[in-house]
Symmetry: C3
Subunit: 159 residues, 3 copies
């Protein structure tokens, strides 16, 4: 087939290790010349948050979610053995020791490779996240756009 | 292609937020005229439980599982920040505030749109769930039937 | 189509129940004559660990991970209701009662059916797992090999 292959990932999880897996697969697929989309929904949106606080007007519940959720990829915890951040620190230590790329750099690499990073507008609204709080040069879309990409996808994953 | 597209979802998770994501994708795909199947297995079966208690004969272990697991979609907890139900209450509050559809209504909508809701008979047996305890008008099948659907699927997800 | 169908599963999770689901789907697909690959990454590698301790040279962090992670499929916990192993014991009891196959035997069956069991070399390195500690007759590969399998897959799942 001469057509470009397609990979789509729904990143639902807000865990550092699961987001690493998502971005490693996405970057691998982009290197193999796939057209790649990561659709960030629910807790996965936290991977796209800027690490500094951004002043925006919010309701009370939305402010609470904003405070309770990690501000950016680097602050996300592990899905297993997080132990209040201790396991996360251990993982970051072995990542450095073995010269593996850390999550924030995996996200930068994805942007350089033109992986399409999409924030799910419905769950942004639900969790009270605003565009000003998220990384630059990402896309905004809903489930219809995701399905449009995925129905022609060769590799479709939910992480 | 003139053939109808197909989406299949294995709903393994018993978390409210993950089940919401599954049903939002399923309803979206059905609206785009996909043939859609959600195969409920392990904790995902809880989304199909009736919310009232149903009197059925069970062994001791099966009774224990019945008591420990949430009785129906509305009682399921969050995968993250559940905080003994507090986070769940917050999510339900923002769902109402932003006019997003709650999980039990998403399930009704799926049934109206003829999404095929399947309960995995092997894990029903394992967890001691009986047909009388589950919603009406659902299907019962095993992994072979799932694979029969999925091998022709355009979008196959495990949630 | 006369070509052999293909199923690929990324097993990221180190939970007993999720690994059971992965191996049940894999064995089902193999029985339907699919070419099946399970790519074990991150905590999913624990399903491939030998149950006895193997003496290998390791750094401090790698030793810690080795001790903290379950030694083999049989020692993995549940994703839900584990209750310090109590829920796990209950699941094992109902598995026996209902004559369902336990995880270690599901893995043996997969090997007999020539399901390709792959250990992700990048995360082996990260978590300090060495070949001597893993089951015999498995493959070792990275994300590129996974993508090579998955891009032609009929059923691709991330578990």
């Amino acid at each position: 087939m001469s057509e470009q292959k397609k990979t789509t990932i729904v990143l639902f999880s807000g865990d550092y290790d699961k987001a690493m897996a998502a971005y490693i697969i996405a970057n691998g697929a982009a290197a193999y010349d796939h057209e790649v989309t990561i659709f960030h929904t629910f807790w996965g949106l936290n991977a796209l948050r800027k690490d500094q606080q951004v002043d925006v007007n919010k309701g009370f519940l939305e402010k609470m979610f904003g405070k309770m959720m990690p501000r950016g990829a680097d602050k996300m915890g592990l899905s297993k053995m997080n132990y209040g951040g201790m396991g996360k620190k251990m993982i970051k230590d072995v990542i450095k020791k073995h010269n593996v790329t850390e999550l924030p750099q995996l996200i930068e690499l994805a942007q350089e490779q033109e992986v399409k990073l999409v924030a799910c507008t419905m769950t942004m609204d639900l969790l009270g996240l605003q565009k000003e709080e998220l990384l630059e040069e990402i896309d905004y879309a809903g489930v219809a756009a995701y399905l449009g990409d995925a129905e022609d996808g060769n590799v479709n994953l939910f992480i």
